[in-house]
Amino acid sequence: MAKEKVKERNIWQRIGLLDYRIIYTLVLILVAIPIWSPIGIPLRVGQNVKDYADALYALEPGSVVLCKFSGYATMLPDVEPIYMATWKILLSRPVKFLVLIQHPDSPSIIQYEFERLKPYIDEYGKEYGVDYMFFPYISMTEAAEISFTENIRDIFTEDLFGTPLDELPIMENIHSAHDFDLVISMSPEYDTRRYYVPYRIPLICWGTGTGLLPFVPPYYGYSVLGYCGGASQGGELELYSGFLGEGVKYNDAKNLAIIGLMVFIVVGNIAYFGEKLSKGGEK
């Protein structure tokens, strides 16, 4: 009975009802190929990514950057290339940066990332507590952040490792948001209100493709100097800065998977419209 029903299906219906497991298998194969052996699909660096990197390169010696870091396990695959490239740029510049940790996963992630950055830290002669530092994680509400911007020591008395802030040389002349020259933000709307409007501190934005890219364009050119979202743009940042890493490699796999998905979307649409036309427009 079931076999008879299958026989009754026309070609469009059969294409439209392609077993989803075949699609999954093909996508997995397409992703696996470039991970096994990178293909080197060309990348074009977007203007927003260039502006993001240029904002970091344009910092005067001694500038202070506040990096709002909210790395957590499930978002890392999409944003870690941006984090790593940004840390490398910051380490290569004569600037100071403070990392404001905003997620319970982030303390372990930031330590893991800086362990991997050890060769760069040594190469550029940077030192924790002198050139950069990490605040401990707290659940930062907006009211708490207002207090932080007015007086950092109202919210934090010590760093992530329990060292009093006043014992860290980097914190010697840093007391409030007035002392920041740039904020790296994950939330353009929120940080425009918290840092740009009251203190006129420009922002650059980093984040996941889905969490940042659809929301940042209205602020680009207003409070945001540049932005970089998702592993694809992470690859672009690596390429532009010269600090190559995982982002470029991930781009191959993602591009190939997207090509596969697009093929299936086209096939699905052809099947849908083909079936509709074969029925003469009947519903």
Partner: protein
């Protein structure tokens, strides 16, 4: 290239967990359920412990050390759990009121300049700042899109005549932006897939099983 035992074990656990989750694509199985439960449990405990530690460090310790005003946030925090009792649930509303009130006040202080007037000025001026004719044309299309998209939300005027076309075109712009949101979500999921595939292919098969340099 020899891999040390702990790195190999770590890669093996990653490999098993990834395959267990992926088995769901074929059909739900005991493996996919177990891996989902493991991840959910670990995340819950992780969050609980971090936040508990935070309350101890940020409120209890300072209070014990003489900053007695910290008793108030602790009390308001505990009051939130009054929601668990039908009889005393009303007590939680004090905590919510304070949190919401402070949040709203903090937001409103810079909301107008940050998210309303600033963006209106940007929407009017930015499209015409293009460096070449193509960028100016793109900006102009976006500017028209913004105006037409706003007409979609006009509920006080009857939609007829030229306004009807404006609403229809505005709806197309809105659909395009919603499509971008959806596409970004797919791309994000692909990033997770790529990283998981790297755990399988690079970390386990190439590095541990085949001993290849990676």
């Amino acid at each position: 290239m020899a891999v040390n035992f702990w790195d190999a074990l770590y890669a093996f656990i990653q490999f098993i967990m990834v395959l267990s989750v992926w088995s769901y694509l074929y059909k739900p199985s005991a493996f996919s359920r177990i891996s989902a439960v493991i991840v959910t449990s670990i995340s819950t405990v992780h969050f609980l412990m971090w936040n508990f530690k935070q309350v101890i460090n940020m409120a209890v310790v300072p209070m014990v050390n003489g900053r007695w005003l910290y008793i108030f946030p602790i009390i308001f925090g505990i009051l939130i759990y009054a929601r668990l009792s039908k009889k005393y649930a009303w007590l939680a509303s004090y905590s919510y009121s304070i949190t919401l009130g402070m949040g709203t006040g903090a937001t409103l202080s810079t909301l107008v300049a940050g998210s309303i007037t600033g963006l209106i000025i940007g929407a009017i001026t930015e499209p015409f700042k293009g460096a070449n004719a193509f960028e100016i044309a793109s900006g102009l299309v976006l500017w028209i899109g913004v105006i037409l998209s706003m007409t979609y939300w006009l509920f006080t005027v009857e939609v007829k005549g030229p306004l009807e076309y404006a609403v229809k075109i505005g709806r197309l712009f809105l659909m395009c932006s919603i499509g971008i949101l959806y596409a970004e979500d797919i791309i994000w999921s692909q990033s997770l897939l790529v990283k998981a595939m790297e755990m399988v292919v690079t970390n386990f098969i190439k590095k541990v099983l085949l001993g290849m340099p990676v």
